[in-house]
Symmetry: C2
Subunit: 154 residues, 2 copies
């Protein structure tokens, strides 16, 4: 279904989706058209979900990134789905994952400074429905971000 050439194309597109199809074709040994066709299939099949610009948070004034572990008051379907719906709706929540382990959710947020993070913490995170405990961890340095999926199954 997804062969070696597709994987090469995907690796190239993950690192730069603005190179021309002709260039990608060259790199994988295919004509632009054949390459274009494969990319179309990968898009249609949902392997490629979107093409996005990736920004530098610090240059935008987001100097602090946090991973926040959120524990809820319970784990009933109603509680989980109310929390998820609210988290999805908040643009400040950059990522949100339901986790195994001690806390229920792991969310990622960014803030310009501690003052703004305090606001975020009180008005946004703590205000999400059914939150019972919050534990924040600050990212001091991001060593690697945006690592694409490796070309072969890990």
């Amino acid at each position: 279904m997804i062969d070696e050439i597709d994987r090469k194309i995907l690796t190239l597109l993950q690192s730069n989706c603005r190179q021309s199809i002709a260039e990608i074709g060259d790199a994988v040994g295919l004509s632009a058209s054949a390459c274009h066709r494969r990319i179309g299939i990968l898009e249609k099949d949902g392997v490629i979900e979107r093409y996005a610009a990736r920004l530098n948070g610090e240059k935008l004034g987001f100097n602090m990134t946090f991973y926040v572990e959120v524990t809820l008051e319970g784990q009933s379907e109603a509680i989980l789905s109310a929390f998820e719906k609210a988290a999805l709706a908040r643009p400040e929540v950059l990522e949100c994952h339901l986790m195994t382990g001690i806390a229920d959710y792991l969310i990622k947020v960014a803030a310009p400074d501690t003052k703004e993070y305090e606001r975020l913490y009180r008005r946004v995170i703590a205000a999400l429905p059914h939150v019972s405990r919050i534990q924040s961890a600050l990212v001091m340095k991001t060593v690697k971000r945006w690592g694409g999926y490796p070309p072969r199954k890990a």
Copy 2:
């Protein structure tokens, strides 16, 4: 430096960087050329770091995602930089952050199944230099991923 229009452009590009500049220009009330010039500046200034295809891990066979907390044997500069260099070099490590809190690093990895994760755990993560403790948490469900930075400072 970055004004309201730039923020709108960035929001649009974060959700879809393949729409034409003319479309983006229309959406923000600018000619294609003016829009193009602004985007060029945002790229040059490093606000836009790259344009990337975002893939669906499950469709690629990566059915499990983990956040792994890694504690090192110490926090000397030599230990930290050796670890970081090795983590950067491993394609299986999708993200790696130096954190405040109990563990030293938070890394994100993906695997097709538990068997492969066990290999990843033993051969990759535990094999990184100076690792003393590893604690894995499995992502059961990703509620929100790829949330772009919000248009206004959080």
